[in-house]
């Protein structure tokens, strides 16, 4: 496919879409599906039948999961749309009857609230709007423009330069500059190279990657193809959790469609560039989010990490240079290429460019998925966008970064959200889970919960992580039961230091973070649980025996 063909197709689809008087989109992401969205879509479809004036289609995540199932209605020639919440199949008649008429007040979900108004969408720009199962929808939304343009008009080095100019950093948690990683793989000699999309989103409380894959899978495919072109790879893998059946299904469909359109496969756009993508399913192992473990799993083995160096960029899958980026990182690539790295670099802060997708959950009114510019304050996210803590309860802490991150108390709410600031105060950006806690949560118990997670997910290879997480969990459980002593607390802190310094991979190295951050910001909660908090023994000296 060439650029003019692509544009032609885009125009055609846009015109067809505009032929409809009304477009009704039903959020078909996992959360709305579990509230009954499929029945709503089915009911609307059966009632509209072949009607030409009304287009009903499923769409990706609309963000406000707490209010699902969500349905969005738009009218030709009018920019504003109407969002309905808590829709059931029985509401279909009412909904269709009101098309073009007054808004149904009982179902109306106002979109001028900060939850929607304060967001800035790049990764999720198509999410909730296009039908993820139709490649034409993606193309009509400027999809694959970047890829076709890059292949026909840009050199790999030029693609790399745009990514460099964007300042994009890896969204999987570490925040490593994407361009640097790409450049390393690009520089490696050899014909065989791989691009891997890490969709093994394992943080409990994070579902950003799933939402992107379910809502806009072509964006990830385009990002991978651009990455492959830049680094000189011809084969790609998406390593996705088997727990995400819907994401797998949509991604499979998307790959098939892209291949059919000649956007994947041999000699794409009649150039020398060939690229295909295979899906590999995870099988329930959090550690496979770690790059070397993920590769071991793709190779068909136990997902155990190996020492780095050599880094995957030098010696990765089957020993070949391999680029690994996570879903959100790759999803940022098409808009960066389309609008230029300089444009992307205007968003966010000096060292953290662009936007970040967060999954809001826990004791917060507006649970759901949001995308905000880097540098926004935690307070804005939790209170303005998230709507604060429900049931008149008091905010206590916000947890970011999952089992590798930390809990931050109220005093840090005015800090800007970026990689470096969060790290300075003892948490991390992580992949984007954000859990809000009120005073009903015991921080010792929260630390114990995350440690239990790390213990269960430790691969067992290196001793500090295997045995250290077990011992830390035992100590935390003992303290939580009120049976701990000052000595236990000291031992816990020593273990935290050893495990983070000596573990083989990121899982072990960051496993103590939830403990360290709660000890740092909520130490009092540990101390009141200690048995001997009032009678801590004084150290004993050697006897004075010599005269």
């Amino acid at each position: 496919m060439q650029l003019d063909e692509l544009n032609e197709l885009a125009t055609k689809v846009q015109q067809a879409q505009q032929a409809c008087d009304h477009v009704v989109r039903v959020c078909m992401a996992a959360s709305c599906q579990s509230s009954g969205a499929a029945a709503v879509l089915e009911s609307l479809r059966s009632k509209t039948g072949d009607c030409q004036h009304v287009c009903v289609h499923g769409a990706g995540c609309m963000g406000l999961c707490a209010a699902g199932p969500l349905v969005e209605v738009s009218q030709r020639g009018r920019a504003e749309t109407v969002l309905y919440q808590h829709v059931t199949a029985d509401d279909a008649d009412d909904l269709l009857a009101h098309l073009g008429g007054p808004v149904i007040q009982r179902l109306h979900c106002p979109t001028d609230i900060p939850f929607f108004a304060r967001q800035q969408k790049i990764v999720l720009e198509n999410s909730g709007i296009i039908d993820p199962e139709q490649i034409d929808h993606y193309i009509a939304a400027e999809g694959y423009q970047a890829l076709v343009t890059a292949l026909t008009e840009m050199s790999p080095a030029e693609v790399l330069r745009e990514v460099d100019a964007s300042g994009l950093r890896g969204r999987g948690g570490g925040g490593y500059p994407a361009a640097l990683k790409w450049a390393t793989v690009a520089k490696m000699p050899g014909e065989q190279k791989f691009v891997i999309c890490n969709a093994d989103e394992g943080d409990p409380g994070a579902f950003m990657d799933r939402a992107v894959l379910e809502s806009d899978p072509h964006r990830v495919i385009e990002g991978m193809a651009l990455a492959a072109y830049a680094v000189g790879a011809s084969h790609g893998f998406v390593y996705v959790r088997a727990e995400y059946p819907l994401a797998i299904e949509r991604l499979t469909t998307a790959i098939r469609q892209a291949t059919k359109y000649g956007l994947l496969g041999s000699n794409i756009c009649d150039t020398r560039f060939s690229f295909d993508i295979e899906i590999r399913l995870g099988a329930g192992a959090f550690v496979c989010g770690e790059e070397t473990a993920l590769m071991a799993s793709i190779e068909g083995g136990r997902g155990q990490p190996r020492p780095r160096p050599p880094y995957p960029a030098q010696s990765g899958l089957w020993g070949y240079p391999t680029l690994i980026n996570n879903v959100e990182t790759l999803a940022n690539i098409p808009p960066i290429l389309r609008r230029g790295g300089a444009w992307f670099a205007t968003i966010g802060t000096e060292k953290s460019k662009g936007t970040k997708v967060f999954a809001l959950a826990g004791r917060i009114c507006n649970t759901g998925l949001i995308e905000v510019p880097m540098g926004i304050t935690l307070r804005d996210i939790v209170f303005t966008i998230g709507g604060g803590v429900p049931d008149a309860a008091r905010f206590k802490a916000v947890q970011t970064g999952g089992p590798s991150g930390g809990c931050l108390p109220e005093q840090f709410l005015d800090l800007p959200v970026d990689y470096d600031t969060l790290r300075q105060v003892g948490s991390i950006m992580g992949s984007g889970g954000m859990i809000v806690m009120d005073q009903t949560s015991s921080m010792v118990d929260v630390a114990r919960y995350f440690m239990e997670f790390c213990m269960d997910e430790s691969c067992g290879k290196c001793i500090p992580c295997r045995a250290g997480t077990h011992q830390m969990h035992e100590l935390l459980a003992k303290i939580a039961r009120g049976q701990g002593t000052c000595r236990d607390l000291a031992l816990l802190e020593e273990l935290c230091e050893v495990v983070s310094a000596m573990s083989l991979c990121g899982l072990g190295q960051t496993a103590p973070n939830p403990v360290l951050s709660t000890l740092r910001h909520f130490r009092e909660e540990y101390l009141v649980k200690l048995q001997d908090r009032d009678t801590a023994a004084a150290p004993v000296d050697a006897p004075e025996t010599a005269s």
Partner: protein, 168 residues
């Protein structure tokens, strides 16, 4: 010179072995197809038993201990038959904060099984999941494929009893 090993015969004449062979053939009987193949076996039979692991190992030319090692590394693979009904309780952070522990306790007191266990009559398997991604509906569980949100112990037990009744 690579020694050609004889193509192993399936453990019995169950038709599902043909489907498993298709998966392996599509991957060129490469050793890296192990996890894909085990997924297929798990999907078709519900668990991985010894004859299955033997067959997969022989077909892909892999050591038995490696197949066993991989089968026991990943939590989605089970070496024991699962119950007729499954209840997956989400233990992600959001669900934990909102009371997943009570759901687990409810299953324990009502059915006498922990997460990862199956009732002796093979009626119900309880499984823990690290976040099913329904954080907005916490605490959540999946009973026989149906996601249930904002659960209480009573509602969960009622749902399980309902699917058990319907099956009989």
């Amino acid at each position: 010179m690579a020694l050609q090993l004889a193509k192993p015969a399936p453990p019995d004449d169950d038709k599902r072995w043909k489907m498993i062979e298709v998966t392996m053939r599509r991957n060129g009987y490469a050793s890296h197809a192990l996890i894909e193949t085990l997924h297929r076996v798990q999907g078709l039979f519900g668990y991985l038993d010894e004859p299955a692991m033997h067959f997969v190992a022989d077909s892909l030319g892999l050591p038995l201990s490696k197949v066993y090692g991989v089968s026991t590394f990943y939590h989605l693979f089970s070496l024991k038959p699962q119950g007729r009904h499954t209840c997956v309780i989400c233990t992600g952070t959001a669900c934990y904060i909102k009371g997943a522990g009570e759901l687990i306790e409810g299953i324990r007191s009502h059915y006498g099984i922990e997460l990862g266990q199956t009732t002796p009559d093979l009626e119900l398997s309880a499984i823990g999941a690290r976040c099913i991604g329904a954080c907005g509906l916490a605490p959540a569980a999946v009973v026989d494929g149906e996601v249930l949100g904002k659960l209480t112990v009573e509602r969960l037990i009622a749902k399980i009893e309902e699917v058990k009744r319907h099956a009989t």
